[in-house]
Amino acid sequence: MRRIGVFICHCGLNIAGVVDVEKLTDEMKTYPGVSYATNYIYMCSDPGQDMLKEVIKEKNLEGVVVAACSPTMHELTFRNTVAQAGLNPYLCEMANIREQCSWVHKDRGVATKKAALSTKTMVEKLKLNRPLSPLTLPLTKRALVIGGGIAGIQAALDIADSGYEVLLLERKQSIGGHMAQLSETFPTLDCPQCIETPKMVQASQHPKIKILAYSELEDVSGYVGNFKVKIKKKASFVDPDKCTGCGQCIEKCPVKVPSEFHALLGQRKAIYTLFPQAVPNKPVIDKENCLYLTKGKCGACAKICSLEAIDFDQKESFVEEDVGAIIIATGYDLMDKARIGEYGYGQYEDVIDGLQIERLLAPTGPTEGEVRRPSDGKIPKEVVFVQCVGSRDPEHHYPYCSKVCCMYTIKQAMLYKHAVPDGQAYVFYMDTRCDGKGYEEFLQRGIEEDGVLYLRGRVSRIFKDGDGLKVWGADTLTRRKIEISADMVVLATAMVPSEGAKELAGKLRLATDEYGFFSEAHPKLRPVESLTAGYFLAGAAQAPRDIPEAVAQASAAASKVVALFSKDNLYHEPIVASVDEEICRGCGQCVETCAYEAIELDPRTKIARVNEVICEGCGACSVACPSGAMQQRNFTRRQILEMVEVATGT
C-alpha cells in the first residue's frame, strides 16, 4: 500500500495535553507508505468524520489509520465512516494513543515517542490488510423463553405481538411463577393472580406463543440465530388432549403430601394442579407419591375419569426445536432458613419466611386467608418481622442486598394488621429501601395508619419459649437491647437464583456471578444481554428485583430479540481464522485448541475446516498451528511480526 492516511486525534487535551500531536504529524508524514497525515481536535465528531471522508476521496487513500482512543470506543464509528466514503471498512485501523499512551504517561517526550511507535505499528499492519466483507448468517426468527414467570410471560407476549413465534418453556405444570403465590403486591395491594391471569391467558391463547409446560431444557447447540434446542417433556401421566380439567381425579386421590405451592404450609394430592387459575390447568401426577406408580395400588383417579385421560404408562418424551434467540427468565428462590443457626436452623415451625407468610395471607392459601400460625393454628397477636436475613451478611451468607424485602415486609405487616386488627406487627430493620414509584409513601402509610412498629437493629437470636418464641434484637435509636415474646416470626430471607440455575448456565455455557445470577454484558449499558450472543436476560434470574422491574426488563429483552429478528440476515465479523488448505496437514492441534468448537477436520480430505460463523477470532488456533496453515484474517503471523519489529524499534 502506498497511499495510507494517518489522522491523529487531539481528543481535546486528553491526548494533545501529553502527546505533541504536531510533531507526531510531521513524523508520520515522512513515514514510508503514508501519503497524508493530519491532526484534528475531535476525530469522532461530525466535522472530524466529514473531514475523514473528504480526504479519503480527495487524496484517493487506500487505507486509513486513526491514532486516537481505544478501538473499543470508536473502531466501529470510523469503519462505518470510511465505508461511507467508499473504502473497505477493514482497511481502517486505530492506533491507541490515549488509554495506552497519553493516559498513562506524564513525560511529553516519552509519550510522543511511544505514540509514534504505536501509529507506525498500525500502519505496518494496515499495509498487509486485505479488504474483507462481513459474513452473513441465516436467521431463525423464532424465540425460546426459558421460565414462565411474570418476566418470561411478558417477554413472550412482546415478541409474539411483534409477529414472531415464541416457545415458552416452564418446568412446573403451570406458568405464573412466584408471583402467583403472593397475596397482594406492593405498592398498590393488587391481587397478583388478578393482574397476572390476564397475561397468562393471553399467552395461552396467543397464536404465536406455544407454551411447553412441565418441560425442561435438555440440551442446546448452535449459535445466535441458529440454535438447536432439545426439550424434555416430563411424564405427567395425564393426557392433556383428553383431560378437561374437571378436577374429579384430584378429589378422589387419597394421598396427601406437603404442597410446594403453599410453601410447605398446606397439602396437595399426588395428582394435582398448582392453583385455581393455572395455565395450563391440567393436573399432573407426582410419581414419587402416587400409590399406583410406586406400589401398584389405588388408581382411583383412573377409575373416576370418564374421559380415560389418566395414562400410567406415559413416558417422558423429547422434542427438538430450532430457535434464533433465547431469553433466560428463570427467576429466584428464597434462601433456605435452615442455614441460619441463631434463628433455629429451621426447626421452629412458627419461624417462617417471606413466601410462607404470603400463602398464609392469600385468600386461596392453606388457611384461606386467615392468619394462623403453623404449629397450632392459633391466630398470632404478636408478630415479628426480621429484615436482612442472609442478605448484607458477607461474613456468613450473602453480601448483597436483596432489594425487595424492605417493601414486601411492610406490605406483609400491613396485610397482617388488616387481617388481625388487634394484633401488633414489629419490624427489625437496618434500613428501609423504598426506591420505586410510590414505595416510600407506601411504607409511611404502613407505619402511620396501620401502626407497624419499626425497630432499628438486627436480630441476634430467636429461640423457643414455651409455645411462643423469644426474639432478641436491638433498637440502636434508643440504645436498647429489645426482647419480644412473639407468637410468630417472619424472616425476610435473601433472594437467590432459582434452583438449577447454575446447572442451566453450565449447559448453555453462560457466565454467572459467584452466586449463580446470570451475568449481563455490561452492568450499566447492556443490562438485558448476556455476554454470549443470542442469549438475553429478564427478571430475577439476573439479580434480585421486583415485579415492575422484571416486567420492564422482560420487554427490553424482547425488544432486543425483535431487533435481532428484524434483519434479514445476521452479520458476523470476518476477522476469523482461515486455513491454507495446501499447507494444512491435518494434525488436528487447532481442533483441540478451539474453545468454541469452531474447527473440525473434514472426514474426507482430512484438512481443518473453520466454521466461520462460530469462530470468535481469538487467534488461539493460529498460535497452535505448527505449520502456519491456520492464520487469522488481517492478523497473520507476518503482520504480527512486522508490528512487533516496529513497536520494539528493531
Partner: protein, 135 residues
C-alpha cells in the same frame, strides 16, 4: 448537645490506634446492632456495644474510654460469632481497655477482694480478672 466533627478526630490518632491494637477495620461496622442484641452483659451498660464502635468511628476518645461498657464486657465472643461484617468487637473492646490500662489506671485492686472469698475463688477467676482489669 452538639458534637463537632472534624478531620482531627475522625482521622486522628485515636481511631487509628484502636484499629492498630485491635487489628480490626472499624469502618466495616455498619451499625446493625446485632452485637448489642446478643450481648449477655448488657444490663448495666451505659453505652451499647455497637455504639462504642460508632464513637470510635466519630473519633470520640473521651466518651468511649470513660464508658462503663468496656469494663462490663465478659469477652464471651458472642458478638464476634454473629457479626455479619466479620468485625471482631471483642478485640475492639480489648483495645479500648488496654488504652486505659496502659496509662496505669487499674480497674481492680487485688487488696480489695475480701479475704473470705479469696480461698473459694478458682484461680482462673483471679488470673483472668486481673488480666482484664489491670495492666
Amino acid at each position: 448537645m452538639r458534637t463537632i466533627i472534624q478531620i482531627k478526630e475522625v482521622r486522628g490518632s485515636f481511631p487509628a490506634k484502636v484499629q492498630e491494637i485491635s487489628g480490626q477495620n472499624i469502618y466495616a461496622c455498619y451499625q446493625c446492632g446485632k452485637c448489642s442484641a446478643g450481648c449477655p452483659s448488657i444490663s448495666e451498660m451505659d453505652i451499647l456495644p455497637s455504639e462504642i464502635i460508632r464513637l470510635v468511628q466519630l473519633g470520640q476518645e473521651e466518651e468511649s474510654l470513660k464508658s462503663k461498657t468496656i469494663w462490663l464486657c465478659a469477652s464471651c465472643f458472642t458478638c464476634e460469632t454473629r457479626c455479619p461484617k466479620g468485625v471482631d468487637l471483642a478485640k475492639i473492646m480489648e483495645a479500648l481497655r488496654v488504652m486505659v490500662l496502659r496509662k496505669n489506671v487499674d480497674q481492680v485492686n487485688p487488696l480489695e477482694i475480701p479475704r473470705s472469698i479469696l480461698g473459694e475463688l478458682p484461680q482462673i477467676a483471679l488470673v483472668s480478672g486481673f488480666r482484664k482489669f489491670t495492666s
